[in-house]
């Protein structure tokens, strides 16, 4: 009736939904001829299911979730999800309760002053607890297929802690992390912004390592869309990507930060204190700069290496074929080209110029062409 095409996009109340929320609030979707309904969902599982059956055309999504959903898609490809755009870099962090932070400091007074903080002192705490006959510490992540799960597991294992044997790992929804820690139900968590800062400013927890220290320029959320949107309505997908790119560029600008924080703090978006939302936006999260929006296949391969490492996927999958199917930098590039000079071409097309190997906080190099060998080379692994 309005002459605009309807799109339904889902999101979870987290700071990195910003490009979608801003594209809507600033009218960028409308300017692209799209009538977008932004729907707040309570769980990642519901996001996945709604995109899988087409109730949503796309959503703010955990990047590994798109890979997992496509891996288990039906024979006709029902349920397969594409990632034509990355929503952000960074934003997640590992936070422990004040009591656990104190216990870490008790075994190593300088432990929390080093950069980056490693899990080695935590391993000592765990060994002492075991010697005293105390139960395992509980750590929470947001979903099995998430950057948060792999970040936490990698970080723990690097310090000599087996995440499946030495601690108890549970899944807790992001908005409940802080209250669960406050109640003593969890001792640590890895979650996206703003919840780490909410825990720290509330005197409930202490941030140990942020994603930007764990893996400078590493991946986080993507915009996951249905295969149908990409194949049956390519013009609308392109229009949607253009609007989100413009919003991501807008969200990176320091001069727009106050407006963005106000927008995100609203109860129908994140519903958290503006001050807590602000901190990650100042120093952590990148939406557009440095080609942050490009869905890089090497990021997808790193996720698959960690799924392999922790036994989530077996040897029968062709990792490169899967990542080629899900990660679509070609769609990003096409939309960016049709957008004109808002994108600096050197940044938008930096995928070829990126480092051949990614380096995480421990200095270990990841070669995307050897994801399985990388997974098998860790001291602690399941696969």
């Amino acid at each position: 009736m309005s002459g605009l095409s309807d799109l339904r996009l889902g999101f979870i109340p987290l700071t990195d939904c910003a490009p979608l929320a801003a594209a809507q609030a600033l009218g960028f979707f409308e300017e692209e001829g799209l009538n977008v309904e932004l729907i707040r969902e309570a769980s990642w599982a519901t996001i996945r299911d709604k995109v899988a059956v087409g109730l949503l055309d796309g959503a703010h999504m955990l990047a590994p979730m798109a890979l997992a959903a496509t891996m288990s898609a039906g024979a006709g490809g029902q349920g397969a999800i594409l990632a034509p755009l990355a929503l952000n870099q960074n934003g997640s962090a590992v936070t422990v309760s004040i009591a656990l932070a104190e216990a870490i400091r008790a075994v190593d007074p300088d432990a929390l002053a080093r950069t980056p903080v490693t899990a080695a002192p935590l391993a000592k705490v765990i060994a002492e607890r075991r010697a005293r006959g105390q139960g395992p510490l509980t750590f929470a992540v947001v979903f099995p297929y998430s950057m948060h799960n792999y970040l936490l597991r990698y970080w723990l294992a690097q310090g000599g802690i087996d995440p499946d044997r030495d601690v108890r790992l549970v899944v807790t929804p992001p908005p409940r992390m802080v209250e669960q820690m406050h109640a003593g139900a969890i001792d640590g968590f890895c979650v996206g912004a703003p919840w780490n800062v909410v825990a720290e400013t509330g005197g409930v927890g202490r941030i140990l390592i942020a994603a930007s220290q764990f893996w400078p320029g590493g991946p986080d959320k993507v915009l996951g869309v249905t295969t149908e949107l990409a194949t049956q309505r390519p013009d609308e997908l392109r229009a949607c990507l253009r609007a989100v790119m413009r919003a991501a560029a807008w969200a990176d600008e320091a001069e727009n930060r106050e407006t963005l924080i106000e927008l995100l703090a609203r109860p129908d978006r994140i519903g958290a204190a503006p001050a807590a939302i602000g901190r990650a936006l100042e120093s952590e999260i990148v939406f557009h700069r440095d080609a942050a929006g490009l869905p890089r296949r090497e990021h997808g391969l790193w996720f698959l290496s960690q799924m392999t490492r922790w036994g989530q996927i077996g040897a029968e999958h062709d990792l490169q074929a899967l990542v080629d199917r899900v990660y679509r930098p070609d769609l990003y590039r096409e939309a960016a080209l049709s957008l004109g000079p808002i994108l600096e071409p050197a940044l938008a097309f930096a995928d070829a110029a990126g480092p051949a190997e990614a380096r995480l906080f421990d200095g270990r190099a990841f070669d995307p062409k050897a994801a399985r060998a990388y997974a098998a080379a860790f001291d602690i692994h399941r696969g």
Binding site: A45, D49, K50, V170, V171, T172
Partner: protein, 190 residues
């Protein structure tokens, strides 16, 4: 068979539980949130959970866990369209491996119908409220026209109806516009 209903909407959860009790020899419990100790103690064969519950992710993760209890997601592809129906209805179900699909089907059917019923009742209520609101607005607009244009009640209503037809808008919307403009002319909120 034991069924656990997790739904932050307690009224709806009660409706689902009530519906299930009539179906089969079932033991039904309901809870607003997922509580691990409670689930372990009750050991349900089926967990029916509202899609809007944030605890879905916790439940979803149990199928990944090697040491957790055997709850797997109900995405039986032998029942075409069922998973989609459930997603549309806003219900997710997790069943213990090995349970006969037809038994799950009947549970899910009850849950979906109760969810739809709740939604319809809430929709009716919202509509009734909106209708009442609209009627009040029309009454106030009529009063304004009677005062400002010296019309009788019937004439005021006919004028409103004509404005609505000319603009292709509901009469309530035209009445609301009229009141808003009257407010601006008087200097309110300008």
């Amino acid at each position: 068979m034991r069924v656990l209903v997790i739904d932050p909407d307690t009224a709806r959860a009660a409706l689902v539980a009530q519906g299930l009790e009539g179906v089969q020899p079932l033991e039904v419990r309901r809870s607003a949130v997922y509580d691990e100790a409670e689930v372990m103690a009750f050991a349900p064969d089926v967990v029916v959970i509202a899609a809007e519950s944030p605890d879905r992710d916790t439940l979803d993760s149990l199928q990944e866990s090697s040491q957790g209890h055997p709850v797997v997601m109900f995405v039986d592809r032998s029942e075409p369209g069922l998973a989609e129906q459930a997603v549309r209805a806003g219900v997710a179900a997790y069943v213990v491996d090995g349970l006969a699909p037809n038994r799950v089907r009947s549970i899910l059917d009850v849950a979906m119908s109760r969810f739809a019923l709740t939604q319809q009742l809430r929709g009716d209520l919202a509509k009734a409220k909106a209708d009442l609101e609209s009627r009040k607005t029309v009454e106030r607009a009529k009063g304004l026209l009677m005062k400002e244009r010296g019309l009788d009640e019937d004439g005021a209503y006919r004028l409103l109806r004509k404005l609505a037809m000319d603009r292709g808008k509901p009469i309530g919307a035209v009445a609301a516009d009229l009141l808003a403009f009257a407010g601006v002319l008087k200097g309110d909120g300008a």
